[in-house]
């Protein structure tokens, strides 16, 4: 019977204080009744293994104790999808700026920069991961705590269950790309393409009585690359005008061209692209100093520029892919073939 008492004690541990005595007394009585009946049928006391089997059939102590308690949630099934959505938004809105700030500090703050350079790649990755994890942990903790509190209020206020049909949002026609936006996009691409094409004839990209900007001789390489990007983007806009739906192929083309454009721009920043600057009423020495500072900060800003371009390209691709998925499952919006 020692085993039975140990079992009862283990169940008791998981029960609330006010219910312990009552539940354990009833459970004990039921167990003893079952054992007595089994022993009467066998005509002998139960062996230890038989007793173990009987207790196993009853279930693990925590499961048995839990069956007596009402179902409890930290975050219940009704709030859980909202919790997940907010968690995603919080992580995106918190971690992305955090990473960008971190990169900015390493690039622009000399103390951070020196510390970063002084350590090995592995040490830096470890330190970055440590701080990132701490920040993520705090963000997840705060969101979870808020939702745990809301969970306590939901059954009393039913704030999630009340709604007005008329205040529901209008049906989103996200599958159709608005032609006005596409037209503006196309016009911008055409203007940009013309400007780049003209700029390819001379390294002087700006020439006015007060200001003259001359680029280094390798400028045409980058401008050619951008011309290609702008033409591809213009082609996508033109097809969007004729066939105003996103397809996976279009999303891929736009993503690749945006990444390529971003890489070329970042690369250009690192190549001391500004060759000469002439500003009215500014001494040539001062202009030369300005050119060197622009090129220096341009080179230091490469990781930031690259990160921003990548984030924009990924965000755009994600938005367009979601649009395609929504269109696929929407009954009332015509879906394009991808």
């Amino acid at each position: 019977m020692d085993l039975v008492n140990r079992y009862l004690q283990a169940v008791e541990f998981w029960l609330p204080t006010n219910l312990k005595r009552d539940i354990i007394a009833e459970l004990s009585e039921d167990l003893h009744a079952q054992i007595e009946e089994r022993e009467a049928a066998l005509g002998r006391p139960l062996a230890s293994a038989e007793l173990e089997d009987l207790l196993k059939q009853r279930g693990a102590p925590i499961v048995v104790a839990n069956s007596f308690l009402p179902q409890r949630y930290l975050i219940g099934p009704l709030l859980f999808p909202v919790y997940l959505l907010v968690l995603k938004i919080a992580l995106l809105g918190f971690l992305v700026p955090w990473v960008l700030t971190f990169i900015g500090l390493v690039v622009f703050d000399s103390a951070y920069h020196n510390g970063w350079v002084a350590h090995s790649w592995l040490q830096n990755a470890e330190s970055l991961w440590g701080s990132l994890w701490n920040s993520a942990f705090v963000a997840i903790g705060i969101v979870t705590a808020i939702f745990a509190v809301l969970e306590r209020f939901q059954p009393k206020t039913h704030f999630l269950e009340t709604f007005e049909p008329k205040s529901l949002p209008a049906i989103r026609k996200t599958a159709v790309i608005p032609r006005i936006g596409t037209s503006v996009e196309l016009a911008v691409n055409v203007v940009l393409a013309v400007w780049i094409a003209f700029s390819l004839t001379s390294p002087v990209v700006y020439d006015s009585p007060n200001l003259r900007i001359t680029l280094a001789l390798h400028w045409y390489l980058f401008f050619l690359a951008w011309l290609a990007v702008v033409l591809v983007s213009g082609a996508v806009s033109a097809t969007n005008l004729i066939y105003p739906y996103w397809t996976r192929r279009k999303v891929l083309i736009r993503f690749l061209s945006e990444c390529f454009g971003g890489i070329m721009f970042s690369w250009m920043l690192s190549t001391h692209i500004v060759a000469q600057l002439s500003i009215t009423n500014l001494l040539p020495e001062r202009c030369a100093w300005l050119v060197s500072r622009i090129n220096y900060w341009g080179a230091r800003g490469v990781p930031v520029a690259l990160s921003i371009f990548l984030v924009i390209a990924i965000a755009n691709a994600w938005i367009h892919l979601r649009t395609i998925d929504r269109a696929k499952y929407s009954a009332c919006i015509p879906s394009p073939t991808t």
Binding site: I23, A25, E26, L27, E29, D30, H32, A33, Q34, R58, G59, V63, V64, S67, F68
Partner: protein, 126 residues
């Protein structure tokens, strides 16, 4: 193929348990028209083909008592303290209404099934 069968079996088991859950309340309330303690109640139900394990029965008895449909008292019998349960007047009323609901669902289901099946399937070959 095996996994499909397994998944169908799992689904059936879940649905069976779901279907039984509501009917267990009726069975327990009906069986407690005579006073019983937990162990004998379980045995009585089992004798009538309704198997119910302890981890389902005792929480159910507790819930029905909290809802005011059962009364219970601790009493010594055969040198052991036992908790005896019995349906009370509120429980009787609720049981009657549940039985009426049960019969109504049964009749509706019959109607749905008869409507879908051919006369031979419903009544057997004539």
């Amino acid at each position: 193929m095996v996994s499909e069968t397994q998944s169908a079996n799992d689904a059936f088991e879940n649905l069976r348990l779901e279907l039984r859950r509501g009917s267990l309340v009726i069975a327990v309330l009906a069986a407690l028209r005579d006073e019983r303690y937990g162990y004998t109640l379980r045995k009585t139900l089992a004798e009538h083909g309704i198997d119910i394990d302890e981890s389902t029965l005792y929480p159910l008895l507790r819930r029905l008592e909290t809802q005011g449909l059962l009364s219970s008292q601790w009493r010594e019998e055969e040198k052991r303290n036992k908790r005896f349960y019995r349906i009370n007047s509120s429980g009787e009323q609720v049981l009657e209404r549940l039985l009426a609901e049960w019969r109504s669902i049964d009749a509706s289901l019959d109607a749905v099934l008869n409507n879908r099946n051919t006369p031979e399937e419903v009544h057997g070959p004539r």
